[in-house]
Symmetry: D2
Subunit: 336 residues, 4 copies
C-alpha cells in the first residue's frame, strides 16, 4: 500500500519533505498540498508533486478522503489546530517543531490523542533518528554502565540580532531536551542556568554562552553548553559518563587531511547539514507507521514534556544560578 | 513515472536489492522475478514483492513488455548472457560484480552497448557511492593538489579454505581496482605484487598478505595491502598523497568509548556492514537513470577495465616482484 | 655552580626527587638528608646520594652552611614549619603540596616571604610544567580568543575507603584549582558543587562524582567533573572555550592499535604515570632559580590561594547547589 | 662519578650536545673542546662550558688523561679517524651520523672495536630513544603478534637544490633503515625502489617522492614513502602490521583545536623539533654507559649495517623497480 500524504505548509521544510517523500523514500506519495500562499503550493506541485491536488485550507486537506496521512510544516502558531484536526479525522500526522506554541496547547493535543486511544502524532525531533545518536544510545544502554553524568554542547557559529536569550532554549536547546531524555530514558526534575560573561560577539538582548544544568528523576546530572556565537562552526557534542566508562557522540564523517602544517578535519558551519540524513529516516518511520494507521517515534507526550521543560529552562535563565523544579503530570498509559 | 524492475537471481543479494527497491527507495517497483530455483523467487515475491510476476527464465523476464529495467543478481557465470539480452532489448540493466567472468566476455558487453549507442549498463561497484569515498574524491579533486601516491589497505578478518591466492584479486582487490581508478580519474599501466612471508593464519593455497603496486598513466603509484587473514576486523584504508597534502578515507562512524583502560572505537568485522549505505545510493542512481531510459555510474567499460586489470594482477602474483604491463584498448567515445 | 640541596622527608616522593636531582637533572647535588625515620634517610643516602650528610632534624639541615636549597617532602603537617625555617634562613625551598594544612598557615608563609622581600618558595604544583598544559596555555593565550568557559574532568579509577568527600577537593581538585588559575591568568570569585546520584562504586562517606563550578574574576565559568570511582582509568581532561575557538589538553602519547575489532589507545590507570615527565621540568626550574638565590614557578601566594579556594569548595559541597563566595585578600606586589 | 667529556666538532650539533651535558643531563661535564675553527670552540667554552680546555686537534683531545669519553660531532668525513682513535685509547665515544662515509670505513671501526673486545661506540641514531618508537616497540613485541608488514613515511616540507636523489637515502631514509631494523629485531635482505612521477616541487636532480621496499630475513616487507617536498610539514609515520593487529607510531603531542571550521592539530614543519626530546635520552644513555667504561645503544655494527643497506638502496634507485640484494657479513659476537 502507498500512503497518500497531504502537506500543510509548503515553505522550505515542507518543500523538502515533499521532495523526500516523492523522490527518496519508499511507500508514500504526495497527493495533496495546502499553503496560505497558494503560489508556494503550486510551485511544489509543479516541481515535485505533479499528482498533488491543492486545497484552500489545511482543514479541507485533512478532510479529503484521498489523504491518508498529514504533514504539518506550516507556521508554528498554526500547528496545534492542524494536529488536532488530524487527530479528529483519525489520520496519522507528522508535525514539525513545535508541536504547539505553549505547553497548554501541547497538552490539548495529548488529551485529544489519548481520547482517540492510539498514537497518531509524530513530532519532528529528528535527532533520535541520527545514526550517531542511535549508536550512542546503544553504547549507553549496553556498554558503559548506568549513566551518571552527561556533558553536552550545542554551538552555532552565529545568530541574527532578533535571536534573544529565551530562544537559546526554545529554538536551540529544545533538541537536547528531547534527545537526552530519550537517550537516558529518563525525565527531568530541575533546571538551572549559569551564565559566564557574555561573548564579545553576542548582543544586548542575548546572554551567550550559557550552561544549562538539568537533573533527572534517576539522579543523572546533565550540563549543556549553549553557545550560539561560537564563531568556529556548528558543533554538537555529547558525552555520557556511566558507572563503567564513557561514550561520546561520533563526530560527523570527515576526510582527515594533512595540509598547511595542520592535521585537520572540516567542521560543519551550517546546521542544516548536521542531521540531514536523519530527516530521511524520520519520515520513513512516519510512512511505515502511517501505513499501519498509527504513529511512532517522538510522541505528543514528548512534545508536551519538551514544552514544559523549555518553560522551566527559560524561568531558570531569569533566576540565574537557581534550580527551577520541573513537575511533570503523570504519563498517560498510551505513551508508556 | 515508476520504473518497473525485474530481478534475475533471487539469492541473498537479489533479495536484498528487491527489499531496497520496494521498501527503501523511491521511483521503482519490483514487477518481475526469476531464479533457477523457483522457490527462491516465490519466497521473495511473497515476502517483499507481492505484485511481482514470476518468469521461468531471465530471457523471458527481460522480454516482458511490463519490465522497464533489469537487475542481474544471478550466479556470476550467467551475468554476461543476461546483460547482453538486456542490451539487445534496449533496457537499462544493473549487473552485480562481475560483469562477466572473463575480460573477453566484458568486452562483448562493451561492444554490444557501443553498438546500441547509449549507456544501458551499470556495474555494481558500490564504493563509488560511499559517502566516505565521495568526500575523499572531493578532497583529492580540490584540496591536496594533483595526486602522486596512494596507500591503501583491504583487510578481512578471515577467509574460508577455498579462498585461494587469485581470489585476493578477483574477489577482494577488485573493489580497489575500480574505486581508485575513479578516485584518481586515471588508468593503470602496470601491476606488480610483492609477497612478505605468509601469515600464520593463512593456508597452503593462499599467499596472504600481499602488496599490489599499480602504476597509472599519469604516473601515480598505488600500493594496496591485501590481508584477508588480518584477524582484527574488516578494515578499508585509503590515503592519497598529493602535491600539497594528504587526504584519508574517513573511518566508519563509531562511538568513542573510554572503557577498561582503553580509548576505543569499534572496528567492523563483517564486510557487509562497511558499505551498506552505499547500496541504497547506488540503486537509486540506477532507478533515476533508468527512468530516463539510460544508465549512469560504473559502466560496462569500467567493468571491462577492471577485468583486464585483475587479470594483470593475477599474472603479477605469478611473477612475484615483476611489473606486468596493463594495455588497455582505446576507450570508446560512449564512455568518455 | 652546583646547587647543594638538602631533602627533608625521604619517603616515596622525597626519594624520587633525590634520584631526579642526582641522576637525571643537571646543576644540583643532594648533600643533606633528614627524616624522622633515620633508616629511611640512610637508605636514600646509600642508594642514591652517597655524598649526603644525615641530619637529625629538618631545622638542623636547613641551618647547615653546606646546604644551598631545601626540598620539603615530609609529612604534610610539618611543611609549614620547614618552609618558614627555610625562608628565615634565606634559602630557596621547594615544598610539596600542601604548602600548609590550613589557609592561615599558608598565609603565614606568604607574610614571611613578603617580609623577606624575595621569592624563596616553589610549591609542587607540577602540572604547570606538563608539556600538554604548556601547549594548551599557548593555544589559550594566542589562538582561541579570550576564554569564556572551561570544561574539565579529573577521574581516578578507584579510591580507598578512607577517601571522603572533602578529599575530592583537597587531594584531587587541588590540581585543577591551581592549574586552571594559571592557565587562565585569573582568580576565582565563587564555587558551587552539584552532585548527581552517587556512583555504585562509591561508599557511604563519599559523594562521587561531583561537578564543581568555579566562576572567575573575568567572568569565565569552569565546570570540573571529579569522579574518583570512574573505574576505566586515570583521565585528565581540559577544554577551553574562547571567543574564537576551542583548545583541548592533549591526551597522553599512546600507540594506536587495531586489535580485536577495536581501534584503541591505552588509557593510564596510575596517576603517578600521568605527569611523570613534569616532575623533572619542575625540579630543574627550582634548581635553576635556586642557583640565582631565588624561586620561580608556583609561589607561596599560589599555594595560599589554592588553600582558600579549596576551603570554599568544601563549603560549597556542604551547601550543594549554592554558590559560595571566594574572597581573596589583595595580592602582594612580590607576586604580581 | 662525573664523566669528563670532550667534544670534537663544535658546530650546531656539537654545541647543542654540550649544552645538554652541562645544563640538562646529570652525571657528566664538558672538560675539553676541539674544532678546526678554534673560534667556534672558544664560543662554546665561553657560553656553555667554562671549565673546558681547548685542544688543537681531536687526536690530542682524545689522548688527554682528563677526558673520559668523547663526542664526535665534527664534519662527517672526519668521523672515522676520531672514532678509531677513541677506540685505540679505550675511551667510550658517541659519534653522530654517519659513523663513516663508506661502508668500508664503518667496517674498520667494527673491526677495531671487536679487536678491543668491548663496546665503546654509540652511533647517533636517536630515534631508538624517542618515546613514541619505544612505545611502538613494546606494542610490536607484545601486543600485535609477529610483524609481517611495515608501512612507513618520511616527509619533509622542502629540501634545498643541492639535495639530490641519493641523499634521500643517505640523509633521510637512513633513520628508517636503523630504527625499523631495531623495531623488528631483524636484518634486511633486499631493497627495491619505485618512483612515481616526480612532484612538481622537485627539481631536475631529485626524483621525489619514492617508495623504498625492504625485505627482511624473517620475511617482513617494509614500504617507506620518502617525500622531501611534501610541502605540508615534517611528518614521520610508521605502522606495523602483525599477525593479530596493527600498531601505529604516535603522532607528536598537539593541542586539538576547533577553529575556523576546522578540527585541527598542528603538524611540525622543522625536523629539529620532531625528535628533540630523544637527544636528551640518547646522551644520558651514553653518559650512563660511559660511567661504566663502555657504550650502549646503537652500535658500530648498527652503523655498518646502515651503511651497507644505504648503499643497496642507492643501487636500487639506479635500477628502479628491481630488487637489489643486501648481503650482510656474519655478525660478530660482540654485537649479539
Amino acid at each position: 500500500m502507498t500512503v497518500r500524504i497531504g502537506v500543510i505548509g509548503t515553505g522550505a521544510i515542507g518543500r523538502d519533505h515533499a521532495r523526500r517523500i516523492n523522490q527518496v523514500l519508499g511507500g508514500a506519495r504526495i497527493v495533496a498540498l495546502s499553503d496560505v500562499n497558494r503560489a508556494s503550493a503550486e510551485a511544489v506541485r509543479d516541481d515535485l508533486a505533479p499528482d498533488a491536488v491543492l486545497f484552500a485550507t489545511g482543514e479541507e486537506l485533512i478532510a479529503s478522503p484521498d489523504v491518508d496521512a498529514v504533514l504539518v510544516t506550516s507556521w508554528g502558531a498554526t500547528h496545534e489546530q492542524y494536529v488536532l484536526a488530524a487527530i479528529a479525522a483519525g489520520k496519522p500526522c507528522f508535525c514539525e517543531k513545535p508541536l504547539a506554541t505553549t505547553a497548554e496547547g501541547a497538552r490539548r493535543i495529548v488529551d485529544a490523542e489519548v481520547a482517540e486511544g492510539r498514537r497518531l502524532v509524530q513530532v519532528g525531533f529528528m535527532r533520535r533518528y541520527d545514526a550517531g545518536y542511535v549508536a550512542l544510545k546503544q553504547a549507553v544502554d549496553g556498554r558503559i554502565g548506568a549513566p551518571i553524568l552527561v556533558h553536552a554542547a550545542h554551538r552555532n557559529p552565529t545568530v541574527p540580532e532578533q535571536y534573544v536569550t529565551p530562544m537559546a532554549i526554545h529554538d536551540t536547546m529544545i533538541h537536547e531536551i528531547d534527545v537526552l531524555r530519550w537517550l537516558l530514558d529518563d525525565d527531568y526534575v530541575s533546571a538551572r542556568v549559569i551564565f559566564p560573561r557574555a561573548a564579545a560577539r553576542s548582543h544586548a538582548k542575548l546572554r551567550d554562552p550559557q550552561i544549562v544544568i538539568l537533573e533527572t528523576a534517576k539522579g543523572t546530572v546533565i550540563d549543556v553548553e549553549i553557545f550560539v556565537n561560537c564563531h568556529y562552526g556548528y558543533d554538537i557534542q555529547c558525552e555520557v559518563v556511566g558507572e563503567d566508562g564513557i561514550a561520546r557522540l561520533p563526530e560527523p564523517m570527515a576526510v582527515q587531511m594533512r595540509l598547511g602544517a595542520k592535521l585537520q578535519n572540516e567542521i560543519l558551519t551550517d546546521w542544516k547539514d548536521r542531521f540531514i540524513a536523519s530527516y530521511d529516516v524520520e519520515l520513513q518511520d512516519f510512512i511505515n507507521a502511517a501505513a499501519r494507521g498509527t504513529a511512532a517515534g517522538p510522541s505528543s507526550w514528548d512534545g508536551y514534556v519538551a514544552a514544559i521543560t523549555s518553560d522551566a529552562c527559560v524561568a531558570a535563565q531569569e533566576k540565574a544560578g537557581e534550580a527551577v523544579a520541573i513537575d511533570l503530570p503523570p504519563r498517560p498509559a498510551l505513551y508508556s
